[in-house]
């Protein structure tokens, strides 16, 4: 068994003219909390879709938990938990109905499922809202429900796409407490975010811009390397650098 949860080698995805993910090389050790940062449209979701096995890459290689993303997507799906950027559970079903449905979709046995649901709704604070229609939950609560669904089957690898975008501070806090608690169970977490305070909690971070991975490493080391005080500062600097070089490139063509 490989020590890496994720290996990407020259992983590329092209949509017509747009290169959404451009030749990414990345290795993430098992048990790591890895944060992906990058402006909107930089290719974060596209990278995640490929790693989930739902979007075939244009070229390059990728593996998740030792399984090739092109050859064994179904094996990957059994062992990952995924929370998409857009709420994609059933709005007309209640919180409990959604949880039960996804539990069964993962093939969890009745008693075990009951126990899992009880545990997860307790730590996310959803216990009082079990019979509420999911469509009537507010943003932060919807995200908590989605997180519960992603964790039901105790995945080895959790992929969260902007889980805390537009979420209140209390919910964000609960989210990160749960994410950090997964360290003990050696669950690998891949999470995208726009919040720098969240990025600092991660073991490692990567910055994606125009589909390319510009920076990759431990947050503190990255700060030292680039002689900046905060991540915000670093990223503004990086974006400016990239824009300058892309203008230069266009000029030379």
């Amino acid at each position: 068994m490989s020590e890496y949860a994720i290996i990407c080698e020259g992983l590329t995805k092209q949509f017509g003219q747009i290169i959404a993910v451009n030749s990414i090389n990345l290795k993430i050790k098992k048990g790591t909390i890895y944060g992906i940062l990058g402006p909107n449209g930089s290719g974060k979701s596209t990278l995640i879709h490929m790693l989930c096995g739902v979007l075939p890459q244009t070229s390059g290689y990728g593996s998740v938990l030792g399984y090739d993303i092109r050859k064994d997507p179904e094996k990957i799906k059994q062992r990952i938990g995924y929370m998409s950027q857009k709420f994609s559970l059933y709005l007309e079903l209640t919180v409990l109905e959604n949880l039960q449905f996804y539990g069964e979709v993962y093939g969890i046995k009745k008693d075990k499922l009951k126990e899992r649901i009880k545990h997860l709704v307790e730590i996310t604070g959803l216990s009082d809202r079990l019979n509420q229609r999911s469509g009537t939950l507010s943003g932060g609560w919807k995200q908590r429900l989605a997180l519960c669904c992603a964790l039901l089957h105790e995945p080895d690898f959790l992929i969260l796409d902007e889980p805390t975008a537009g979420v209140d501070p209390v919910s964000r806090r609960i989210f990160w407490d749960i994410i950090q608690s997964l360290r003990e169970k050696e669950v690998t977490v891949l999470v995208t975010t726009h919040y720098m305070d969240e990025a600092l909690i991660c073991d490692e971070i990567g910055f994606i811009y125009f589909g390319r991975l510009l920076v990759n490493g431990k947050p503190n080391e990255i700060l030292k390397q680039h002689h900046v005080e905060t991540l915000d500062e670093l990223f503004i600097k990086l974006v400016k650098q990239e824009e300058a070089s892309s203008i230069f490139q266009k000029g030379s063509v």
Binding site: H49, C52, G53, V54, L55, P56, P73, E74, K75, K77, Q78, I80, Y82, S84, K86, F87, S88, L89, Y90, L91, E92, L93, E97, F101, Y102, E104, V105, Y106, G107, I108, K109, C149
Partner: protein, 381 residues
């Protein structure tokens, strides 16, 4: 572990069924439409599909005004073959009535009608509006029959008067109309209508089943789970089989009790083969749902199947008269076979000895469509 992933998992399969039922329960309006609409359609179209021609409007221009001419008019109108719309006194008047569509047929009896009878040279003129062939053929055959009968009766009388007692004709016919002796169109049309309406409702219902999840974004989550395409497709199929059956039962009751159409054959065979047809229609609906990108596309595709099937299946016109190519197209539609089954069981009371071919074709449809659907369904964005 690997084995576990490959195998069809009944927990996952059942989870889809349960979820579909829950969603149906939360949307009672759609369920009501699925159950009530077919009944309404059968009631409405059942009356509209009554193609029996009762009586044909007739105008008479009686130039003769004799006992014989009045007798002839009597013959035409006596048994409601023709309805005497009006007496006229000119061709212009007759033209006007035909143009207006008030009459389909005109009978013109010439001045010397009764005089010429005695010399066997009498003629009457019959004018028929040929624009609707069905009506025209009916008017033609009725008027010719009536005239023939009337002529024969006159001849018989004359022969009697001449003391010849040879009354019988050289050939007598003994016609026996099978299956639908009263030849009522309802008996033929209502069973077919049941099939057509079921196909429509089922197809539209299931055409949305999967594409709806794509459009709502819930499919994005489902494809990241270990669910297998076949579990998903079959799980979606089962709840709609129930709804389809319930709906079918309602429609059947309306057909039998309201329109008094009786089932000559076995009702169990009818139900069994109807389930087969329901599943075939459901499978086509699901296939549409899988290849469509959004609900509007699914709607158009469903109509692209439904509309031609009305004609191609032989619902309106017999398939035998269609060009071979069109007949072959009709052969690609399950409704075609189901109509043969329905008419066979309702009217002729035939059993599986006769209907085995249609049944096998339907079964093949189901298998092929399900495989096509499951393989077209990719767990990808």
């Amino acid at each position: 572990m690997d084995e576990k992933i490959k195998k069809f998992c009944s927990i996952r399969f059942q989870s889809i069924i349960k979820k579909e039922f829950m969603q149906i329960k939360k949307d009672p309006a759609s369920l009501a439409i699925a159950l009530i609409l077919p009944v309404m359609l059968v009631l409405l179209l059942g009356y509209a599909m009554n193609t029996d021609i009762k009586n044909i409007n007739l105008a008479v221009w009686d130039q003769s005004q004799t006992k014989e001419s009045r007798e002839l008019i009597q013959v035409f109108t006596r048994q409601n073959d023709f309805h005497l719309f009006s007496y006229t006194h000119s061709y212009n008047e007759i033209d006007y009535l035909l143009d207006k569509g008030d009459i389909h047929t005109a009978l013109i009896i010439p001045k010397d009608f009764s005089k010429n009878i005695k010399t066997d040279t009498s003629t009457v003129q019959i004018i028929i509006d040929g624009s609707d062939p069905t009506y025209a053929k009916e008017a033609l055959s009725r008027s010719q029959n009536l005239l023939l009968n009337y002529s024969t009766s006159i001849q018989t009388k004359m022969l009697e008067r001449n003391a010849i007692n040879e009354k019988s004709l050289p050939i007598k016919s003994e016609t026996n109309i099978l299956y639908n002796p009263t030849m009522e169109s309802l008996n033929y049309n209502i069973p077919a209508l049941i099939g057509l309406v079921m196909q429509e409702v089922i197809l539209i219902l299931t055409a949305f089943a999967i594409v709806r999840e794509k459009e709502h974004g819930t499919m994005a989550q489902l494809i990241v789970t270990p669910i297998r395409p076949l579990e998903l497709i079959l799980g979606k199929l089962v709840p709609y089989i129930f709804i389809g059956l319930l709906s079918f039962a309602f429609v059947l009751i309306v057909g039998i009790w309201w329109f008094n159409v009786s089932i000559a054959g076995s009702i169990y065979l009818l139900i069994g083969l109807s389930i087969l047809f329901l599943i075939a229609s459901l499978a086509i609906g699901l296939f549409i749902s899988v290849i469509a990108n959004n609900q509007l596309q699914a709607m158009y595709m469903a109509f692209a199947v439904i509309l031609p099937s009305v004609i191609l299946s032989g619902f309106v016109f017999p398939r035998e008269t269609m060009p071979t190519f069109i007949q072959m197209l009709g052969g690609l539609i399950p409704l075609t076979y189901f109509l043969e089954i329905l008419r066979g069981i309702f009217l002729k009371g035939v059993s599986l000895d006769i209907l085995w071919l249609q049944s096998i074709v339907l079964l093949t449809f189901i298998v092929i469509t399900c495989i096509a659907t499951a393989s077209r369904f990719k767990k990808q964005l």
